[in-house]
């Protein structure tokens, strides 16, 4: 997803009442995260589970929240998602950078990247892949999900190497 759209995504969600942006940095999402920093609306945490915990507190305070992470961090967070976010039905939007989408990504990302769609499916977390063409429509879907008190995920594929 290009820089311009990533920056627009922050403003679109923010205008649509997402008040808090919390997470662990990921290079796939770096322009989005940079826009959070520029607008002084970010908490960078030490781990992804910690971000989900803080987001639970802000969401309980009726302040809608997005948590960003790489899919390695999503794997870290499975227990927190199932035993906190899903169990209590805390409506949080997860924005996940998908490493290992390209089959020749760095070796540490290959296995988790391959099972990423199945992991989401098996834990029953509804998700949509966002692209430069559908990002607005799928952001609206995510905003509707949390209005109905359902957590959900938006996935950004890593389409480049560095």
């Amino acid at each position: 997803m290009n820089e311009k759209i990533q920056r627009e995504l922050f403003h679109y969600l923010n205008k649509n009442k997402i008040k808090n942006f919390i997470g662990v940095p990921d290079s796939t999402l770096k322009h989005f995260i940079d826009e959070c920093i520029k607008n002084k609306n970010i908490i960078i945490t030490t781990r992804e589970e910690e971000a989900l915990g803080i987001a639970t507190g802000t969401t309980l305070s009726k302040s809608p929240t997005l948590v960003f992470m790489q899919n390695a961090g999503f794997a870290n967070s499975i227990s927190t998602i199932t035993s906190l976010v899903q169990l209590y039905e805390i409506p949080i939007i997860l924005l996940i950078g998908w490493r290992g989408y390209l089959p020749d990504d760095a070796p540490e990302h290959i296995k988790i990247g391959k099972i990423q769609p199945e992991l989401l499916k098996i834990i029953g977390l509804k998700s949509k892949i966002i692209t430069e063409n559908n990002w607005k429509q799928n952001s609206d879907w995510a905003l509707k999900q949390i209005k109905e008190k359902k957590p959900c995920a938006l996935i950004v594929r890593r389409m480049f190497h560095d």
Partner: protein, 182 residues
């Protein structure tokens, strides 16, 4: 002092202030001695009570937010001390009931007997106190009404055979009660 006694003294003293309690016997003790709508009983997600409490504290600056944590719990999320210490929420009171053990899973030892948690919290820019008696606990509870957070209380407790009943509220009900009361 056992955990349940300390929980009772603090829960009564803080009145209506929201409390986030860690999973295991901690939430069960709080539920049994002082159930109220603004208690968030964490039943899974071990380690995250301090983070949930931080989220509440940031969004409710006029309310004092209490975290009832255990030594095993905070050792799973030591990074949260860095995040809390960096953000300096004035209304956050982080209480660790330290029995040097994972009592909920059969009293296996933790390393809080070797590494001092108060020192770690102090380095993370909390205002800290260590408490070993009921008299000091009552004294500190008065004192913290007048000082700014983040505040860290390390309460040394002994293990006990006393068992509180499980939290009877369903997780979604816990969520709704907290959201209505905040």
């Amino acid at each position: 002092m056992i955990r349940k006694e300390a929980v009772k003294i603090i829960a009564k003293s803080v009145g209506n202030s929201p409390i986030v309690s860690a999973n295991g016997f901690m939430s069960r003790d709080l539920f049994e001695v002082h159930d109220k709508k603004s208690n968030f009983y964490m039943i899974g997600s071990m380690g995250l009570a301090s983070s949930i409490g931080l989220g509440l504290a940031l969004k409710n600056p006029k309310k004092q937010i209490f975290i009832f944590d255990g030594d095993g719990n905070i050792l799973m999320n030591l990074g949260s001390l860095v995040t809390i210490g960096s953000l300096q929420p004035k209304n956050l009171v982080h209480i660790v009931f330290d029995n040097n053990s994972h009592e909920s899973t059969g009293s296996q030892p933790t390393n809080s007997s070797i590494i001092n948690l108060e020192k770690i919290a102090k380095d993370a820019h909390y205002t800290t106190f260590t408490i070993k008696s009921k008299i000091k606990l009552n004294l500190i509870l008065k004192k913290i009404q007048k000082i700014q957070g983040p505040i860290f209380l390390l309460i040394k407790i002994s293990t006990s055979k006393e068992r509180s009943k499980r939290v009877l509220w369903k997780p979604k009900t816990i969520r709704d009660r907290v959201m209505e009361s905040i």
